[in-house]
């Protein structure tokens, strides 16, 4: 069984009288441990697809299986729980809480963790993650005291705090210079290789997509290429089946 299975997913927005179809029957699969790039021009339905994959939105029709669970029909609160447990997000604009230390930013998702992990444990875990992304000496810095690359690494640590099997990175290098971009992308590759975390990089930049094991291209609401691992352009870097 794959980590992600999308079967014939449609998404239509209703703008007044008009129906705007954005996804027109998307099917794709992502195996555990893959590093996949999701590419497409703006307006291609890339963001919509990412929202559905990230359980932020629900498809109009079609099935979405995540980690052997059918999530396409779940209510909002269930989706929130799945986001908390199974998905980590890294955003283009970092979205760190201002005037809050890096440590507290990383610990924030634990607030909504229903499994009841003690404060000390979550603190220990957050410090370990910050050390892992190379910010062990800056755990009490506020975002305004950190560079863009450092902020993005804090955001990555935050995405990993609940040990999700799946990480979404939405244009993670969009606000970074080329050198820092490279660092951040290297970090994704390392996480993918060492931890076996499945990572989906959403980007419109071909250079970024080159760091991925496979590229899924979307155009006009349909998958153009790379929907399934065996027809991908390259073999998965993390050893996808």
């Amino acid at each position: 069984m794959q980590l992600i299975e999308l079967k014939d997913v449609y998404k239509t927005y209703h703008l007044g009288e008009m129906d705007v179809p954005v996804l027109k029957g998307v099917s794709l699969e992502v195996a555990r441990g893959e590093l996949v790039a999701l590419m497409g021009a703006s307006g291609s339905g890339k963001s919509t697809l990412m929202n559905i994959l990230g359980c932020l939105d629900r498809p109009t029709s079609g099935e979405y299986w995540l980690d052997d669970q059918l999530v396409s029909g779940l209510p909002r609160n269930e989706l929130a729980h799945i986001r908390n447990q199974k998905i980590g997000f890294v955003f283009q604009s970092f979205n760190l809480l201002p005037r809050t230390s890096a440590l507290e930013n990383v610990m924030m998702p634990m607030t909504y963790n229903a499994r009841g992990i003690s404060d000390r444990e979550s603190r220990r875990r957050a410090i370990a993650l910050l050390e892992r992304v190379g910010l062990g000496d800056r755990i009490h810095h506020h975002p305004s005291q950190l560079s863009g690359g450092q902020q993005q690494r804090v955001a990555i640590a935050r995405a990993l705090i609940n040990q999700p099997p799946l990480l979404f990175a939405d244009e993670p290098t969009g606000n970074l210079d080329s050198h820092t971009s490279e660092e951040v992308l290297k970090m994704f590759q390392r996480l993918n290789a060492e931890e076996g975390i499945t990572i989906i990089l959403v980007t419109h930049d071909a250079e970024v997509a080159e760091h991925a094991g496979r590229t899924i291209r979307i155009r006009d609401g349909l998958i153009e290429s790379g929907a399934f691992a065996h027809e991908g352009s390259m073999a998965g870097a993390g050893g996808a089946i």
């Binding site: 929202n51 990230g54 932020l56 939105d57 909002r76 609160n77 929130a80 729980h81 799945i82 986001r83 908390n84 447990q85 980590g88 997000f89 955003f91 979205n95 809480l97 201002p98 005037r99 809050t100 507290e104 924030m108 998702p109 634990m110 607030t111 909504y112 963790n113 009841g116 404060d119 935050r158 609940n162």
Partner: protein, 458 residues
């Protein structure tokens, strides 16, 4: 665990923008502070008013002997002798609602000092506790007489300011001997000025002495109106021999009658001692009905009155004063409540305003929290907690502010204030309530946000 985390999250969010939080809570701080200060000052004033009204005798209960009646003809109050000094002691001992009680023996007679004389309006034979009943413990000079003086029937007395003026020409009367109905009493103290009572009679025109002395040495029997010239008429040397006396021998007595001085020096043993009145004071105005009930039960038992038979005593309280008192304090409380509500509503609207701004400003944060797994209810709880924490913090600061300013008022203006735990409790409850009510709408708005929209919000 979860609530602690929610609280901590709210606390961090507030700490992130401490200036705004302070300004937001200022409304609540001032509101609650004003309420506490007003309550403390108001309560202090109200207690001061109550005390001064109480010193007029608002808590006093007057117990009179009942009426005698014969063949359906009643003789009015005080026409039988049923109250004893022991009744007063028993009331003090057995009625928990009664704070103080004293027996009273009344005479009305002439008082002489040197070449001056005066008939005081009131001469009371009583116990030292009478001063407690009347709230009259501060003497202008000297010391009150003691329980021991009462037991011994000592000839000592306290006199009021009017007597000082009339008999002593404003000189100090301490340790001087005055004669009451030709019995010498040593003045041991001078009462402070009390002025006229509500009906206009002079309360300083008074002599207080041990009731035993008044009872056994001054008045042979209770309620006898004696004056010295009338008493002297029995003295044969002053009798006018006139022919108008149709039967002169009728006045002839075989044995010499004892002179008043002799009678006073050798009091006859009396089996049953009665007093004219007992005054008691309830512990507080509110306890007056309870005190009346307890005294009635006790005296009926002591006087062996069967069920169904009428009381042989009458208890009066000063309803007029009491109701004026409770009316005043009720009015004051309502006034303070109105002011409190207005200022707290204003503060609450301020909180709602800032929370709404905060929700708009932190839309991205809300979106992020939702993306990492916060449910709508989590967001609702978080913003609600924030509002409540703001309000409670404001309430706590307000309590300190109010408390401090009322202390300041006491120190600078010497107004009486009294700390009021009810006001503090109410302030905490109301700030919590304000936080929930005025925090709910913004929190609900935040919880309804769509995470995708919120994340994209600029």
């Amino acid at each position: 665990m979860r609530s602690v985390r929610t609280f901590m999250t709210a606390f961090r969010a507030i700490r992130r923008n401490i200036m705004r939080a302070v300004l937001t809570t200022l409304g609540i701080v001032i509101g609650v502070g004003a309420v506490i200060a007003m309550m403390e000052i108001g309560k202090g004033s109200s207690t001061a008013i109550q005390q001064s009204v109480a010193s007029m005798g608002a808590n006093n209960l007057l117990i009179f002997p009942g009426t005698a009646s014969s063949a359906g003809v009643s003789f009015g109050s005080g026409s039988i002798m049923t109250l004893t000094p022991q009744d007063a002691e028993a009331i003090l001992r057995d009625c928990p609602a009664v704070g103080t009680a004293a027996p009273i023996v009344r005479v009305r007679t002439q008082v002489i000092y040197g070449g001056r004389n005066w008939v005081p309006q009131t001469i009371y034979g009583t116990t030292p506790m009478y001063l407690d009943v009347r709230d009259w413990n501060t003497l202008a000079e000297g010391e009150p007489f003691t329980d021991r003086d009462v037991r011994n029937g000592s000839k000592v007395c306290l006199i009021g300011q009017t007597l000082v003026r009339q008999l002593f020409d404003e000189q100090s009367p301490l340790d001087k001997e005055i004669r009451i109905n030709n019995v010498s009493f040593r003045v041991v103290g001078v009462l402070s000025r009390k002025g006229a009572n509500m009906m206009g009679s002079d309360q300083d025109d008074i002599i207080l002495a041990p009731w035993t002395a008044i009872k056994y040495r001054v008045s042979g029997s209770s309620a006898q109106s004696v004056n010295q010239s009338a008493a002297a008429k029995t003295d044969t040397s002053q009798q006018v021999n006139s022919l108008n006396n149709l039967y002169p021998s009728s006045g002839v007595q075989l044995y010499p009658a004892p002179s008043p001085t002799q009678a006073a020096d050798t009091p006859l043993p009396v089996r049953f001692t009665n007093v004219d009145q007992i005054v008691a004071a309830a512990r507080s105005t509110a306890q007056i009905p309870m005190a009346v009930e307890q005294i009635t039960d006790l005296l009926r038992e002591r006087h062996r009155i069967r069920a169904g038979q009428p009381d042989d005593f009458i208890i009066r309280d000063l309803t007029e004063l009491t109701s004026a008192l409770s009316g005043t304090s009720a009015l004051m409380t309502k006034l303070l409540l109105c002011v409190a509500l207005i200022s707290l509503v204003v503060g609450g609207v301020g909180i709602m305003n800032i929370m709404l701004v905060s929700v708009t400003e932190r839309t991205r944060e809300i979106g992020l929290r939702m993306a990492v797994g916060a449910r709508g209810s989590d967001i609702l709880r978080q913003f609600l907690t924030e509002a409540v924490v703001l309000c409670l913090a404001g309430g706590a600061l307000g309590i300190l502010l109010g408390w401090g300013s009322s202390r300041l008022v006491t120190m600078l203006l010497r107004w009486p204030t009294e700390s009021s735990p009810e006001a503090i409790l109410a302030a905490v409850a109301v700030s919590f309530f304000v936080g929930v009510v005025f925090g709910f709408y913004p929190a609900w708005k935040a919880s309804r946000l769509d995470p995708i929209e919120a994340l994209r919000y600029e």
